[in-house]
Symmetry: C2
Subunit: 214 residues, 2 copies
């Protein structure tokens, strides 16, 4: 349980109240919605307050700055997004005897469901990750750390089985990361789809598995 420490560090840096008030929950909900509609930079705290049925002062009482409000959305989401990959998909996959392609189908399916049930916050996260240099430099190392330790093992597992070619692990990791991210981002951010078809998932898994075959 010594993984994700970079992310946990970040999470600790934003004080999280144990029992968020109804108003706090409304603020977070409204912020996600309005940030995703207009982008962080074009969303005003006044509009978020109005939408949440709350005074603007309340937002700043709880979150201090607009920047910190953004982090209060993104970081808990990231904490959910990545550990779940590991616990729900990776171990089950690498212990059993499924193929690399089936593993990818499983992975894509699983994370699509996760994104679908909260698409707006995924959109906010991706847009700001690309837009704000400073946020990118904060979050990318965390994400890379998680993927390197967890998905790295999976790649090596399938390399030993002869299903994945013999390039260095970090090269393959980058390929897998780039192509799966591209899949999620193009569907949920660029084309703004609410649901991804099983067919799209299978095709993409095939594409990636073939690309990485020996």
């Amino acid at each position: 349980m010594k993984n994700y420490n970079l992310l946990k560090e970040l999470a600790a840096s934003i004080k999280k109240s144990d029992k968020p008030t109804t108003k706090q929950k409304k603020i977070i909900e409204s912020a996600i919605l309005i940030f995703s509609e207009k982008g962080y930079a074009n969303a005003s705290t006044a509009e978020i307050a109005r939408h949440a049925g709350v005074s603007e002062g309340t937002i700043f009482k709880h979150y201090g700055t607009k920047e910190n409000l953004l982090l209060s959305l993104i970081i808990p989401y990231l904490e959910d997004f990545f550990p779940s990959i590991v616990e729900e998909v990776v171990k089950e996959a690498s212990n059993s005897m499924i193929t690399f392609e089936d593993f990818l189908v499983h992975l894509l399916q699983n994370r699509c469901l996760f994104i679908e049930e909260n698409k707006e916050i995924f959109q906010v996260m991706i847009k700001e990750l690309i837009y704000k240099e400073e946020l990118k430099e904060k979050l990318l190392p965390c994400i890379y750390q998680i993927l390197a330790t967890q998905i790295g093992q999976v790649i090596e597992h399938f390399q030993q089985r002869g299903e994945v070619k013999d390039s260095p692990t970090d090269v393959l990791l980058k390929m897998l990361f780039t192509s799966t991210s591209a899949f999620f981002i193009s569907h949920f951010v660029l084309f703004n789809k609410t649901k991804v078809s099983q067919e799209d998932i299978v095709q993409t898994a095939q594409f990636i598995a073939n690309g990485m075959r020996p």
Copy 2:
């Protein structure tokens, strides 16, 4: 010469002076630089004017609005970016007998060189394309139209040669588009590289070609 009409329509909608003044050129240069550094939303016209050594009024005399200044950067760039793909790479490739993988190497090399020599404006374009819903809805149809007519032919060519699998052309087009875009964006925007190695290009071409093989 009836292609790219959607893009040409857009280009016509922003009045372009035939002979841009030295000051106009300085404004465009400065806007590219400052937009790429801080993002469109966080860049002020005052700062652009200061950097260009020009009065703020001059910017608005020529471009009317900040939004239109942004379009005056992006649209000419797009006009250069896509037709060049066609004329420089596609025809030469599909007439000769090179493999699909070599075609991809050629394509990636060619476009990397183009992006490298003007990285900032590529970054601005991508960031704003993802960030601004309205711009996305304006530009994506143009881009799709160009790719569908030109790259579509190439895919069918390599399908007939048996190097690309038999899925519908639009499915393959989307795959090719997604994976090449991901390559450019991850290198030049996400990781902010100034140069892409030949090795990276060859690996990616291999990856994509294998993924699309029958």
